[in-house]
């Protein structure tokens, strides 16, 4: 999947996929290209144009997936991307994907596209859902009225894709001038209204509705999910359940993987000894690079492999748009956009993804607020830190699975703290640097859909888990090397590590941390996952070497180095509130096109973290 502004046409003709959000466009794209790309149940999942290849009848075609949009009028960044691509004439054919259950509204976009290019194929997707709801569109009649091919598909079941490609290829090979459409422009209601009326006219008599009450089932579910008294408890419970499952499920595999990898460490050491490799090289490679890598894999892989699929499941079902619906008023009070709740949720996976996701917010002011505050939700790289510290210091490392529930509850509290901070900071920004009133807001609540569990697991493991893990590992290896070098290079009898941490110590103490921890956060700039491994390595390099086979041994190491519950809370607070990782910073720079806002995005969470940690440490000193 690559961003594309200009596509090399040498590889074949270009077919663009456009359509409203939530019509299964990305599923269709995956079906046509076989290329995995994440599809979600909220508007704006495809935030950049992506492309893949598809062969039909022994010819190669390039399929471009445009961001989902309701119109080509360019009210938002996504619409601009879609419109510019269609206008640029790069596409030899444009497939407009429509939702068979609300075809009338979807045809509006098709008509708008036909104003720009005649080479349009209308794909009526979700035919299975329409059938369930007893909606029967007469595709032949609609095709005659529109004057372009209309093909029915069920992208999830890969039905009708062949016919769709046939129609697209026909349009490419025999382009025809525009069909018999007759739209009465120039009415005093504007051109948009004229197009909507035209779409209405086309559908009139061409769609039969069996049972108009199909929406009732969703209404029942919504009564709970968005109910006055039930909405907030359900959201908290869902969060709690996700964390509980993650912590419980990750416990055993984490231990298994870590014992396996530490067994590997021993063997590796023996291997290097057998090779007669110089000591410094052995130590650098094994104790420096391998150990940090092993920690990152052992600690991160199991929770991620559970957390990502669970979260994707919530997306797939259609739960997340409801979260935005429930929380919008809070965001409106803070003069921000309710869709910020969605970008926040994306931030749970990865803050960089959350920042890109902010494109779904139309108002530039509100988009900036969402970008700056995205870092207040901990990404997946920071969860292992929370989970490890919580289970060591608060839920009892020795206790078995019974400790998972209090751990999950504490973690949920921290997330809620992150959300509250997001709201407070959004409000402050709205009154200072980014003054303004909340803009308009429209949010579609898609129907609840049965999740495709098998596909969700495969997709989230390959697309997200392995990707994030790979990135973390790529960062962990050099960081392990740097920390080992720092711990083993002495200047004037004191190691570089001790010098740096000693330098940071006085300031860090005011935050309830110590120099080593602060240094670990600084060195963890490339990836938050490596903060804890760096802390461990630094402590171990300075003192006794011990086996870190279990969390209780780890806790011993930390308490030997002066950790108390106050340190533990401070580390978690600082982990929640500090500068974004390097990838996120680069993404912010790219998205905002401004160095100033990138710096603001770094400073705001950092200052918030320093303030909160300082206050907490001061309060803790008074109390104890």
């Amino acid at each position: 999947m690559r961003d594309c502004q200009n596509i090399n046409k040498k590889h074949g003709s270009v077919i663009a996929l456009g359509g409203n959000p939530n019509v299964g466009k990305s599923t269709l794209f995956n079906g046509l290209t076989g290329l995995r790309q994440h599809t979600g149940n909220w508007p704006g999942k495809t935030v950049a144009t992506a492309y893949g290849y598809c062969s039909y009848d022994q010819k190669e075609y390039i399929v471009v997936d445009l961001p989902g949009c309701y119109s080509l009028a360019a009210h938002s960044a996504e619409e601009e991307v879609a419109r510019d691509f269609i206008r640029s004439g790069q596409a030899d054919a444009v497939i407009i994907v429509c939702d068979a259950t609300c075809l009338e509204r979807n045809l509006y976009l098709a008509l708008q596209t036909m104003e720009i290019t005649p080479n349009v194929v209308v794909c009526v997707n979700l035919m299975d859902e329409a059938e369930k709801k007893k909606i029967k569109p007469d595709l032949t009649a609609i095709s005659e009225k529109l004057g372009v091919p209309v093909v029915g598909t069920t992208a999830r079941g890969k039905k009708g894709l062949d016919a769709l490609m046939r129609a697209a290829v026909q349009v490419i090979e025999n382009p025809k001038p525009r069909g018999p459409l007759d739209i009465q422009y120039g009415g005093h209601d504007g051109d948009a209204a004229a197009l909507v009326s035209a779409a209405e006219e086309i559908c009139r008599g061409s769609i039969t509705f069996g049972d108009r009450d199909y929406i009732k089932n969703d209404t029942k579910t919504d009564r709970f999910i968005t109910g006055k008294w039930t909405a907030f408890p359900i959201m908290l419970l869902a969060l709690l359940a996700v964390f509980w499952l993650t912590i419980t499920g990750a416990n055993y595999p984490s231990r298994l993987i870590s014992s396996l990898l530490f067994w590997g460490e021993e063997k590796l050491l023996l291997f290097f000894m057998w090779l007669n490799a110089p000591d410094f090289l052995t130590e650098m490679l094994v104790l420096g690079i391998y150990r940090v890598l092993a920690w990152v894999v052992a600690v991160m892989l199991p929770p991620m492999a559970i957390f990502f699929p669970l979260f994707t499941l919530l997306e797939d079902v259609g739960f997340l748009p409801r979260v935005a619906f429930n929380l919008d008023k809070c965001f409106k009070k803070c003069r921000a956009c309710g869709k910020q709740a969605l970008t926040m949720c994306m931030g749970f996976g990865c803050n960089a993804a959350g920042v890109i996701g902010c494109r779904i917010i139309d108002s530039p002011r509100e988009r900036l607020i969402a970008i700056i505050t995205n870092n207040f939700v901990p990404c997946n790289g920071r969860f292992p830190t929370f989970i490890a510290i919580i289970s060591m210091f608060f839920a009892g490392a020795s206790a078995g699975s019974g400790a998972a529930l209090p751990s999950a509850a504490l973690l949920t509290c921290f997330i809620v703290l992150g959300v509250v901070t997001t709201l407070i900071v959004s409000n402050i920004l709205s009154k200072t640097a980014l003054k303004g009133v909340p803009s308009s807001f429209t949010l579609e609540l898609p129907p609840y859909r049965r999740p495709q569990i098998g596909k969700v697991i495969i997709r989230s493991i390959f697309d997200r888990t392995l990707f994030v893990l790979g990135r973390a590992a790529a960062m962990a290896a050099p960081a392990g090397l740097v920390i080992w070098l720092m711990a083993n290079t002495a200047v004037g009898g004191v190691t570089l590590l001790a010098r740096c941490s000693g330098f940071l110590d006085p300031f860090a103490n005011h935050l309830g941390l110590d120099g080593v921890i602060l240094l670990a956060f600084i060195l963890g700039f490339p990836a938050n996952e490596i903060v804890i491994p760096i802390i461990i390595m630094a402590y171990m390099a300075e003192g006794s070497i011990l086996e870190l086979s279990s969390l209780s041994a780890l806790k011993q190491l930390l308490t030997d180095n002066g950790w108390t519950w106050i340190t533990a809370v401070s580390v978690m607070l600082f982990s929640l509130l500090h500068w974004p990782c390097s990838t996120t910073c680069l993404t912010i720079r790219k998205e905002t096109q401004s160095l100033k806002w990138t710096l603001v995005s770094i400073l705001v969470p950092t200052l918030a973290g320093i303030a909160v940690c300082f206050m907490f440490a001061a309060a803790a000193k008074v109390l104890t």
Binding site: D189, T219, L443
Partner: protein, 74 residues
Amino acid sequence: MRKTVLSKLIQGERAVVLDISGGMRERLNDLGLIKGTAVTCVRKSPLGDPVAYLIRGAVIALRSEDSSCVTVKI
């Protein structure tokens, strides 16, 4: 027939759009909401705002500031 604004609809009530004023018109047009479109108020969010409306088969949530710009008849 009673003339009112979209934001005043109670849950389950159905109305037909008479006019859309303000800067939201284009956005709402894009969602298929024009003069003469039938709208049903589906449900309120837990804090009372926004409210979800059924517009041409899709459920769309609107804030009260925006839905009060839409004049409807019941």
